[in-house]
C-alpha cells in the first residue's frame, strides 16, 4: 500500500501548492476516489468515441461534401450568432451590472432562462414568436416577406437565443469585478458616459468579453434542440454539425462518430484555450 500511494501523494502535493496553497502530505482518499471516478465518468464516453472511430476511412469521410457543408455552416452560423450576442449582450450585461432599475433581479433571472430551458422548448418558443404564424413573424412575413424558420438566419437566431446568456453572465461578472474608480476618474475629467464606456469600461473588461464570446461560440456550435425545432434540417442551409450527427446516427453510425469527433476536437481546442485565458487573467 505505502509504495503505491507514495508517488500519488507526492503528485498531489506538487499540485496542491499551485491552487490551494500547500496542504501537503497525506492524500485524502475519500476525496480522491470519487474525484477520479467523476473524471472517468466524464472522460470515458469521449474516449469511447476515439476507440470506435473508423480511423482508416476517417479522412475520406471528412471529405464528403455533406460533412464539409455541415461544418462550414456550423462555423459560419456560430460566428454570426456570437457577433449578434456581442452586439446585444454586452450592452445588456452593462445595464444589468451598472444601472439600478426596478425589477433588475427579475430581468437578470429571465435573461439566464435559456441556460436551463430545454433547447427544444426554446425552439418551440421561437417558432411561436418568430414563426410564420408567430406574433412577430406574422408581421415580418406580411410587411417584408421575411420568414425566419428554415433559413440560415433562423439557425443564427436559434443559436444566439441559446448562447447569449453565457456571454451576458461572463461580461456582467467582469463588469462587477472591475474597479469603478477608473470610470469615476474619467467622469471627473469630463468624459461622457459613452466615451467612458468605450475608452475605459470596455478595455477594462475585455478579457471577460473574450472569455464570454468564446464560451458563447462553443455553445452555439453545439446547439441542437432549438435549431432542429426552429430552423429545421436541410443540408447546406440549416443542417449544422449536431443535426448531421443526429441524422447520421439513424442510418450510418460510423459517419456519426466521425462527425462527433470533429465537434469534440473543436470544442476541446476552444475550451482548452479558454482555460488558458482564465489563468492568464489571474
Amino acid at each position: 500500500m505505502t509504495p503505491s500511494s507514495a508517488p500519488t501523494g507526492r503528485d498531489g502535493a506538487r499540485r496542491g501548492p499551485g491552487s490551494a496553497g500547500g496542504v501537503a502530505g497525506r492524500v485524502p482518499w475519500i476525496l480522491v476516489v470519487p474525484a477520479v471516478l467523476g473524471m472517468a465518468f466524464l472522460v470515458l464516453p469521449l474516449a469511447g468515441l476515439l476507440v470506435r472511430a473508423p480511423w482508416p476511412t476517417l479522412l475520406e469521410r471528412l471529405g464528403e461534401p455533406q460533412v464539409l457543408e455541415a461544418l462550414r455552416l456550423s462555423l459560419v452560423t456560430a460566428t454570426l450568432a456570437t457577433l449578434v450576442c456581442l452586439l446585444l449582450g454586452v450592452p445588456l450585461a452593462w445595464l444589468l451590472a451598472r444601472v439600478a432599475f426596478p425589477g433588475r433581479r427579475l430581468v437578470r433571472a429571465l435573461v439566464t432562462v435559456p441556460l436551463v430551458l430545454p433547447p427544444v422548448v426554446g425552439g418551440v418558443a421561437l417558432l411561436l414568436v418568430l414563426g410564420r404564424r408567430g406574433l412577430i413573424g406574422q408581421w415580418l412575413d406580411a410587411t417584408f416577406g421575411v420568414t425566419l424558420p428554415f433559413t440560415t438566419a433562423g439557425v443564427v437566431v436559434a443559436e444566439a437565443f441559446v448562447a447569449m446568456p453565457f456571454l451576458v453572465i461572463s461580461v456582467e461578472g467582469a463588469l462587477r469585478a472591475a474597479d469603478l474608480r477608473f470610470e469615476e476618474a474619467a467622469a471627473t475629467l469630463g468624459a461622457s458616459r459613452w466615451i467612458i464606456f468605450r475608452r475605459v469600461t470596455l478595455p477594462l473588461v475585455a478579457p471577460g468579453i473574450t472569455a464570454g464570446a468564446v464560451l458563447c461560440w462553443a455553445r452555439a456550435l453545439g446547439e441542437f434542440g432549438a435549431t432542429i425545432t426552429f430552423a429545421g434540417n436541410f443540408p447546406g442551409r440549416t443542417q449544422t454539425m449536431p443535426l448531421a450527427v443526429y441524422l447520421a446516427l439513424e442510418s450510418e453510425p460510423e459517419a456519426a462518430i466521425v462527425l462527433s469527433l470533429v465537434l469534440l476536437a473543436v470544442s476541446v481546442v476552444i475550451l482548452a484555450s479558454l482555460r488558458a485565458r482564465w489563468t492568464e487573467i489571474r
Binding site: 414563426g131 434540417n233 443542417q239 439513424e250
Partner: protein, 266 residues
C-alpha cells in the same frame, strides 16, 4: 500507517454497512417481499416494448389490454424513431419486443442479434397533411412541386422519409422541401403550427392532430406502403411475456385496435 488507518475509523464502517445493506438488497433475501426487483414467479414482471413513434396511441392501448389480461405484468414502452430504437437495441438496450415502422430498421436488429422471425402486423400509407384552411390550396401531390409551397418531409434515413421518396419517385415528381425532419411527429408539428404549407406524413398520424391538420389522399401513396414488422427478441429479459405480447398484437383483438386508428391489415 496506523495514523492513516485511524483516519478511516469514521467513514469506513459506514461504507461497509452501506455496502452490506446494498448487496443484501440485490440478493433478494427472505425479507422485503414488497421489493420491486426479481421476485418469485407470478409476481411483478416488466415487459419492455420498443415501438415506432407512429404506434404511440395504439400500442399504449394494447399495453393496457395486455396488463389487464396478465396481472402482475407491467408493460413499459419506448417510443421513438424506428432507426434510433434499432440502434439502441443493437447497442444493448434491454428490449423484449421491437415493433418497427419499416422492414429495413427491423433488419438492423435481426442482423445484429437473435430474434424470432419478424411478422408484418400492419401497413401504413402516406397522406398529404395541410394546415387548417389549406392556405396554399394543395389538392394533389403535384402541387407540392410549386416553389411557392413550403413542404416538410421526413429525412430519408427514417421510414416515413423513405416512403415519401418512394411515392414521389413513383409519381415522377421532384419536390424541394424546406426541411427534412427527424421523425413523422416533428414533420406533422410543422404543419400544425402552420410553418409549412404541406407535408407527407402517415395516414394514421393525421387524426392525432385532427382539427389543426387536414389529410389529403393521393393515388401514388399505394406505391409507398410501409410494412410494420414486429418481433420478440431472444435473449430478452422477459421472453415469455414478449411472445404473448406479439400474439396479442397479431390477434383479431389487436388488429381491431390498429385498424380503428387507420392502419391497414397486411
Amino acid at each position: 500507517m496506523f495514523r492513516r488507518l485511524s483516519r478511516w475509523a469514521g467513514p469506513l464502517p459506514l461504507a461497509l454497512v452501506l455496502a452490506v445493506s446494498l448487496s443484501g438488497c440485490g440478493a433478494g433475501g427472505s425479507a422485503a417481499p414488497s421489493s420491486a426487483s426479481a421476485s418469485p414467479a407470478g409476481a411483478d414482471t416488466t415487459l419492455t416494448v420498443f415501438a415506432a413513434a407512429s404506434l404511440t396511441g395504439t400500442f399504449t392501448e394494447l399495453g393496457r389490454i395486455f396488463e389487464a389480461a396478465h396481472p402482475g405484468t407491467s408493460v413499459k414502452f419506448n417510443f421513438g424513431s424506428s432507426a434510433t430504437l434499432a440502434q439502441q437495441i443493437v447497442q444493448g438496450a434491454p428490449a423484449d419486443v421491437f415493433a418497427a415502422a419499416s422492414p429495413a430498421t427491423m433488419k438492423t436488429v435481426t442482423d445484429a442479434g437473435p430474434a424470432t422471425a419478424p411478422v408484418t402486423f400492419v401497413r401504413n400509407t402516406l397522406q398529404i397533411a395541410v394546415p387548417a384552411g389549406n392556405p396554399a390550396h394543395v389538392d394533389e401531390l403535384k402541387d407540392l412541386t410549386d416553389p411557392k409551397v413550403k413542404v416538410a418531409l421526413c429525412a430519408e434515413q427514417v421510414p416515413c422519409g423513405a416512403a415519401a421518396v418512394k411515392a414521389l419517385d413513383a409519381a415522377g415528381l421532384k419536390v424541394t422541401p424546406v426541411t427534412l425532419e427527424q421523425d413523422v411527429k416533428a414533420t406533422l408539428t410543422k404543419v400544425e403550427l402552420g410553418e409549412v404549407d404541406a407535408a407527407l406524413v402517415y395516414t394514421t398520424d393525421v387524426p392525432a392532430a385532427a382539427g389543426k391538420v387536414k389529410g389529403i389522399d393521393f393515388p401514388e401513396a399505394d406505391k409507398a406502403i410501409n410494412d410494420y414488422p414486429i418481433a420478440a427478441l431472444s435473449g430478452a429479459p422477459a421472453p415469455e411475456p414478449a411472445k404473448q405480447f406479439v400474439d396479442l398484437v397479431l390477434s383479431p383483438q389487436g388488429r381491431d385496435v390498429l385498424t380503428k386508428a387507420g392502419f391497414e391489415a397486411p
